[in-house]
């Protein structure tokens, strides 16, 4: 039903949402995954995303915005095509996570939560990503890289720049 209506999402994502809301005893349970999947497609949570997600779930836009502001992965501004997230929490800190962060800052010429001029990369210092035993670790979008050195880090950035990086969605 909802797919026949006007949607800002791709037909695949719209169909996925149609199914998603039926999986739970309560439609609203689909809210957090919907926001994240919408962000994966649109790049960020725009006003339009909020409006359509609210409508699909029968919620007020206010409710959606309140949930949106709680979760750290959800953003209301575009990030780079490749969002580089460097963990500096304790296990990574002990294995030079800050060195990796500094290296990325220099290499990309941007700071925490900034985007490169060409829009290709953004950088974020993040909390523990569950890869502590393989520290220091980062994620580029959803892909993990671990046991990093500045050299390995350069290779990863080069690969993404050349369009050869992993891309889990």
């Amino acid at each position: 039903m909802a797919t026949e209506k006007k949607t800002i999402f791709s037909p695949e994502l719209a169909a996925r949402f149609d199914k998603l809301v039926t999986l739970y005893p309560m439609r609203r349970s689909a809210l957090v995954p919907m926001l994240l999947y919408a962000q994966d497609e649109v790049g960020y949570i725009s006003k339009e995303v909020v409006a359509e997600v609210a409508e699909r779930l029968g919620l007020r836009e206010n409710d959606v915005e309140s949930v949106l502001s709680y979760y750290s992965m959800l953003r209301t501004k575009p990030a780079g095509k490749y969002n580089v997230q460097v963990c500096t929490n304790i296990s990574c800190m002990l294995r030079d996570g800050y060195g990796i962060l500094e290296h990325c800052k220099k290499r990309l010429g941007i700071d925490h939560k900034e985007v490169t001029a060409d829009g290709l990369f953004s950088l974020e210092e993040v909390e523990c990503i569950g890869a502590c035993c393989w520290a220091p670790a980062i994620q580029v979008n959803y892909d993990f890289y671990d046991e990093l050195t500045p050299e390995k880090m350069d290779q990863i950035l080069d690969d993404y720049k050349a369009g050869r990086g992993k891309e889990t969605v």
Binding site: V32, L35, C132, W134, D143
Partner: protein
């Protein structure tokens, strides 16, 4: 890709299928997969719960509550549907064990969820993974789809007349959502603000129905307990601490990794034998034994067995099993600061003692580390943390306060060394060293 490690002292139960290709359902079946759930169906809920109680399995999420007992609290009759909720939010710094379970043995999580469901009379189970674990969610989703295709999930599972469904769910970045009541809020599509307890989830949980919430490792251990028997599992560990556990050893050790060791295994041996000792032959300074929220231990306190009771007696906690090892080069104040920064960032802001407490602790420790503090600030830090204990809406406040108190108590001298404009001695040492090169 996370590196798998191995050590002769390991007893591989829950990690038995790691690296053997068990994400493939056929391979999982060949490795005794989906046998436990059939046994559980044949023998029934009372048998399952009796075996779980006999196993001495205690929750692997951090608090160590006996799993069989938790399941037995769920009322037999309930007007509202009952649920199983698997906690794969895994966000406590130092903890990465569930990561490996989702990666290498996703069907064990499904099978454990089914067994929990049969035990309590639930027809629906949720497996919640933190949002960052997208590649693992994909692995879980495929495993669930394969289990449906085989007819293992859905209507009339294994010809039992029982229906059971599994739904996977993604979070979107929030440590607090790992707390069980906040987890339910998140799954209901809300901000992850904790609920007041009681009522406990076993009575009023998801959508108001009785709900069993267990950590992913707890759930993945269940099929093995069904197959080997509760008593045999219990015997692997120590008194009231049955079985084995996935310990993640990280930080300054030669061979960091996730090792499955019997409960009660000696912490010192875990660091020096299993993980190969301190990196580069340096001296050990401190150990954070069970994730960032557990109070620090000094180098001479670690000759102790890794179980909930022995660690409690030692003045700390077994927690999530994430052992973080610090060598002599670490500034404890800097480490304490990074720890409190995390809790300040993750405090949901709902209650004042936690929101304000973590913020002031971060400011005070930050100022001290920078050299801008005076003597009485050290006591103030401790006093502030002590006054958060037990006064916050959920245990996140405790999780922030406990390690802070520990750092001040055990390493007061290092705090003092920063006073009166001196700043961080370790930083100076590092700078001097760098200048020499």
């Amino acid at each position: 890709m996370p590196r798998l490690v191995s050590h002769p002292d390991e007893v591989k139960i829950t990690s038995r299928r790691f690296g053997l290709g068990a994400t493939d359902i056929e391979k999982y079946i060949a490795l005794d997969g989906y046998k436990a759930v059939q046994a559980a169906i044949a023998k029934g809920p009372e048998w399952i719960i009796a075996e779980m109680k006999a196993s001495g399995l205690r929750g692997r999420g951090g608090a160590g509550f006996p799993t069989g007992l938790k399941w037995s609290f769920v009322p037999k009759q309930s007007e509202k549907p009952k649920y199983v909720l698997v906690n794969g939010d895994e966000s406590e710094p130092g903890t990465c064990k569930d990561h490996l379970i989702f990666l290498y043995d996703p069907h064990a999580v499904i099978e454990g969820t089914m067994i929990a469901g049969i035990a309590i009379g639930a027809k629906l189970g949720f497996i919640y993974l933190r949002g960052e674990y997208r590649y693992l969610l994909k692995i879980m989703e495929k495993a669930v789809a394969d289990a449906y295709a085989k007819g293992f999930l859905g209507k009339n599972i294994f010809g039992s007349g029982i229906d059971f469904d599994v739904v996977t769910q993604t979070g979107a970045g929030a440590y607090e959502v790992g707390e069980e009541s906040a987890l339910m809020e998140s799954l209901e599509g809300k901000r992850g603000v904790p609920r007041i307890k009681p009522p406990f989830p076993a009575v009023v949980g998801l959508y108001g129905g009785p709900t069993v919430i267990n950590n992913a490792e707890t759930i993945a251990s269940v099929p093995h307990i069904m197959l080997m028997g509760g008593e045999a599992y219990a015997k692997l560990g120590t008194e009231r601490n049955g079985g084995t556990r996935l310990f993640g050893i990280s930080g300054h050790v030669e061979r960091p990794g996730v090792y499955e060791l019997p409960m009660g295994y000696n912490l010192k041996k875990a660091i020096y034998d299993v993980a190969g000792g301190i990196r580069g032959g340096k001296k050990l300074k401190a150990v954070v034994p069970g994730g960032s929220s557990t109070p620090v231990m000094t180098a001479d306190e670690i000759d102790v067995g890794l179980d909930f009771d022995q660690m409690g007696k030692a003045g700390t906690m077994l927690g999530s099993g994430g052992i973080v090892v610090l060598d002599e080069t670490v500034c404890i104040v800097e480490f304490a600061l990074r720890t409190i920064q995390f809790y300040q960032h993750e405090s949901c802001g709902w209650c004042i003692p936690c929101r304000e407490g973590t913020d002031w602790l971060k400011k005070s420790i930050g100022r001290l580390h920078a050299g801008g503090a005076v003597d009485k600030d050290i006591d103030n830090i401790r006093y502030l943390a002590e006054n958060m204990l037990g006064r916050t809406f959920c245990p996140l406040g405790d999780a922030a306060a406990m390690p802070t108190i520990g750092f001040v108590q055990k390493f007061r001298k290092e705090f003092e060394d920063h006073l009166n404009g001196k700043g961080c001695p370790y930083k100076h040492a590092r700078e001097e060293e760098a200048a020499l090169v």
